[in-house]
């Protein structure tokens, strides 16, 4: 039986959100309160299964009395706080952050970013044709997944998922500094020479598609990837007794990707190599 812990009752904090009084449980973030109030704040490095690193700064909001803007994803709501999510100052920073990202990496597979670029009237082209980009070839060094650094926004989510927040493999870390910083395994070796256990939990949390199944990468390259033609079936992994939920993404009667529901109390979106990548026998028709 699965027991969903309810936790101790939490005090409600009262504060002002865009001029409206709101109440949020103690310990929740400004972002939680915004979402509860139906406000859509863009986020990239925030993830439902991870503690945000608040590195992307796309969710910044204005808090009365604060010298700088604050990241909604990690700043806890406080009683009496006055938060403005749509002020000119906050929108300006979001716009520039989106421009900086879009001008330096390929955001073509980042969900919702096109919509945000339009909403904030961001013009990534204005930095000119010579603006430095993270120009890196996709690294295809194994049969399971691909690291396309040209799409990486350095949100730290994969590092956290690989490290002490989930997998505890510590196979990847941020190496280098500044604009030259990259996610890397030790000595920047190929994945096959690293501590990677191919659980794919980094792919699960990657917000931009920089990490993707090799199957997805190949199909995108061939132009055959089409999410509208895909079905998603959630089932239970048959390998061991843990009982992880798998969501099989199927296109043209072939499994093309495996994920796990983030709200599943067994997996929280995480799997192991068998559940994530060990599906070939299903489609072996010999």
């Amino acid at each position: 039986m699965t027991v969903t812990p309810l936790g101790i009752p939490r005090r409600l904090l009262e504060f002002t959100l865009d001029g409206e009084p709101v109440r949020a449980p103690e310990g929740s973030t400004i972002l939680d309160a915004c979402r509860a109030a139906g406000k859509d704040i863009p986020t990239l490095c925030e993830g439902d299964t991870l503690t945000p690193k608040n590195a992307c700064r796309v969710c910044v909001v204005e808090v009365e009395g604060s010298r700088t803007l604050v990241p909604a994803c990690s700043r806890k709501a406080e009683a009496g706080m006055e938060v403005r999510t749509g002020s000119e100052r906050a929108r300006h920073s979001r716009k520039v952050v989106l421009e900086l990202l879009a001008s330096s990496v390929d955001l073509s597979t980042t969900p919702r970013v096109a919509e945000w670029l339009k909403e904030y009237e961001a013009k990534p082209d204005r930095f000119g044709p010579d603006a430095a980009r993270v120009n890196e070839e996709p690294r295809v060094d194994n049969d399971l997944y691909v690291r396309d650094y040209g799409k990486c926004i350095l949100c730290y989510k994969c590092v956290d998922a690989c490290g002490d927040q989930w997998q505890n493999s510590f196979a990847i870390s941020v190496a280098g500094r500044g604009f030259d910083a990259r996610i890397a395994v030790e000595h920047d070796a190929p994945l096959t020479d690293s501590a990677c256990v191919y659980c794919g939990n980094c792919i699960e949390v990657c917000p931009t598609g920089a990490l993707s199944f090799k199957s997805e990468f190949d199909m995108r390259a061939a132009g055959t990837w089409d999410e509208s033609r895909q079905t998603r079936t959630t089932t239970v992994c048959a390998y061991c007794g843990v009982g992880c939920n798998l969501t099989l993404h199927v296109q043209d009667n072939e499994i093309v990707k495996v994920t796990s529901p983030h709200d599943n109390p067994v997996t929280h979106g995480n799997l192991c190599i068998k559940g994530r990548f060990g599906y070939q026998h299903v489609q072996s028709r010999d």
Partner: protein
């Protein structure tokens, strides 16, 4: 932790370097030969992981010995400390003074930052680079400010090798450092080829044009006291402040410091008494004291002069701070580019320890405290206090988001008081003079004396001690400002420019703020017409691009976009530059508002002030 280590093996030298720091490995789990016992139990684990903070000293040990950090060496260090190799690789690649690619044992850092650039660094660099080709065995690196601005242009030689005693016995090459400033191509090349024979650096007092002047409160001993002699320090009034502190008790010391109105001298001007009180009152223990001596703001060299000229003063001041805030362990995070300050502070701490002024039961008062030096490795960002904590803990020197603030959760997640060197040294006169007398110095809001790092187009560059409230003009006159003054950079690369007609600005925190400038860390750089302003601004932008840690987007990409824009308009003015200046302003505004830490928030200050105040690009 089930870590995977690679197959690469350390060389004997690398193994010896790491073992010299950590002691010999206890089991094959840590890299020793396998014995029967190893098959029965594993050691390491939590006990080893708790030593993660030795990662940075371990990387230094490898780098000091062989000049770079190889796969085998790094893996061995990771095995000894149970650190994931990927994380250690991330840490090693974070610091500018480390290399994970093979390089010659000798590295020559030639400063190309503001003061040195104005003093001919580009020519020096070219000359040195042509004479020290690949066959010379010297790697020439262009470096950010080395903190030797009073003797610009400056160069620092670091040669890896064994520690000196072992080298003499075994015939190896000792590790050596040499400073050449003011540098000529001949002197630099000679120093680079034989750093152990380089001429001795001039005494620290040379950087203090006012010396010897016993009336100075902070610099009074520089040049008169023997920096190696504890007795000499005591003969010159040393350790009277500590005795007074013991007489007052911890709460009394905090009250004195609060009443004195002492504000932090590292740049943020936070009231020191409040910081101490907040740390002292935290129920969580242990408390830590961190002295921030990672002085890297271009144009700043005051902490170096204090540490080189009067090292025991800092030891005493740290002891007082620890006593007041309930810390038993203090860290002195010292800039990696300061070999002489490192040597002098190391000596002073060892002497103080030997004489019972550090360690258990100091002066028979039942108070225990000790200081550990941690050496930085070339990262401006590690001057940010939370980045500094991460650096000490063995992580990448990336700032943490605040809150929680260090007084609550700082080093190792414990309440921590972090103070700049100059701030701490100010505590001595606060206690010896008393809070009231100290507060009478300076102005109402900025009390006490202040050190100013004067460099650039002046006859007598160096550190000046003046009471708060003197004007910029008075300071420059004291330093002998030369004709043709074009602008003054106040507060360093994160500060701002002022015009020659604004020399009546009072040098106080409130006075500079009212004038729309900042005192920052006390940098006063006089600039004349010889260096074109756009080139200086470009150098500032390059500096921030190089030093951004890369954690948050506004700073990581923003600094790059700003540098690109400044490149485009380097030769343009007026309408031709207008579009790019708008771009600079918009990106700069987002950097100031949305960056995680002070680096990104202030990176655009100097360029903005040059556009607004000096009319650059008009």
């Amino acid at each position: 932790m089930d870590l995977r280590f690679g197959d690469s093996k350390p060389t004997d030298e690398e193994r010896a370097a790491v073992d010299a720091l950590l002691g010999p490995p206890e089991s094959s789990w840590e890299g020793a030969d396998r014995s029967d016992a190893d098959l029965r139990w594993a050691r390491g684990g939590r006990a080893a992981r708790d030593r993660r903070d030795l990662l940075l000293p371990g990387l230094h040990a490898l780098n000091d010995r062989v000049g770079w950090i190889s796969e085998g060496g790094l893996d061995y260090l990771c095995r000894r400390l149970t650190v994931p190799p990927s994380e250690a690789y991330g840490v090693a690649t974070f610091y500018a003074m480390f290399s994970v690619r093979p390089r010659p044992a000798t590295v020559l850092h030639v400063c190309t930052d503001l003061a040195c650039a104005a003093a001919g660094a580009p020519k020096l660099c070219e000359a040195v680079e042509t004479r020290l080709g690949p066959e010379s065995g010297v790697k020439v690196e262009r470096s950010p400010c080395l903190g030797l601005c009073e003797r610009a242009p400056a160069a620092l030689v670091v040669r890896a090798g064994e520690d000196a005693a072992r080298a003499t016995a075994g015939g190896g090459t000792p590790r050596a450092t040499a400073v050449s400033a003011p540098a000529t191509p001949d002197a630099v090349v000679r120093a680079a080829l034989a750093p152990e024979n380089a001429p001795e650096e001039p005494a620290a007092a040379v950087a203090v044009p006012q010396a010897p002047d016993p009336d100075l409160l902070l610099l009074g001993r520089v040049g008169t006291v023997d920096p190696a002699g504890l007795d000499d320090y005591r003969a010159h009034g040393g350790y009277t402040a500590l005795r007074r502190a013991f007489a007052l008790g911890p709460a009394g010391v905090i009250r004195e410091v609060t009443d004195s109105g002492l504000l932090g001298r590292g740049g943020a001007a936070f009231p020191t008494g409040r910081k101490w009180q907040a740390t002292a009152s935290q129920p969580d223990h242990p408390h830590y004291l961190v002295c921030n001596a990672d002085e890297s703001e271009p144009g700043t060299f005051k902490d170096r002069v204090l540490m080189e000229g009067d090292p025991y003063a800092l030891v005493e001041a740290m002891t007082i701070a620890a006593y007041a805030t309930g810390a038993r362990h203090g860290y002195l995070y010292l800039r990696g580019e300061y070999p002489r300050a490192l040597e002098r502070m190391g000596h002073a701490i060892a002497q103080a320890r030997a004489r019972g002024l550090l360690g258990d039961d100091i002066l028979g008062q039942g108070f225990s405290f000790d200081i550990e030096i941690r050496r930085g490795a070339g990262a401006y960002i590690c001057g940010e206090e939370t980045a500094l904590f991460n650096s000490i803990e063995g992580y990448r020197g990336e700032p943490r988001s605040k809150p929680p603030f260090p007084v609550e959760k700082g080093l190792f997640g414990r309440p921590t008081v972090a103070n700049n060197v100059e701030t701490l040294v100010n505590v001595l006169p606060v206690l010896t003079l008393g809070a009231q007398a100290y507060a009478a110095i300076g102005t109402g809001a900025s009390t006490g004396p202040k050190l100013f790092c004067v460099s650039g187009s002046v006859d007598r560059p160096g550190i000046y001690e003046l009471p708060f409230g003197a004007t910029l003009g008075e300071l420059l006159e004291l330093a002998g400002v030369r004709d043709g003054l074009r602008a003054v950079l106040l507060g360093g690369a994160a500060g701002g420019f002022v015009r020659p007609d604004e020399l009546d600005i009072p040098l106080t925190f409130e006075g500079t703020r009212a004038a729309g400038a900042t005192l920052g860390s006390g940098v006063v750089m006089a600039l004349d017409d010889t260096v074109p302003l756009p080139r200086l601004l470009l150098r500032i932008a390059e500096f921030f691009r190089d030093e951004s840690c890369g954690q948050c987007v506004p700073c990581r990409v923003g600094t790059v976009r700003q540098e690109e824009a400044l490149h485009r308009i380097a030769e343009r003015t007026g309408a031709d530059a207008a579009a790019d200046i708008t771009l600079l302003r918009e990106v700069g505004r987002a950097m100031r508002d949305a960056s995680i830490c002070g680096l990104g928030q202030t990176a655009w200050n100097a360029v903005e002030s040059a556009i607004d105040r000096l009319g650059a690009y008009e």
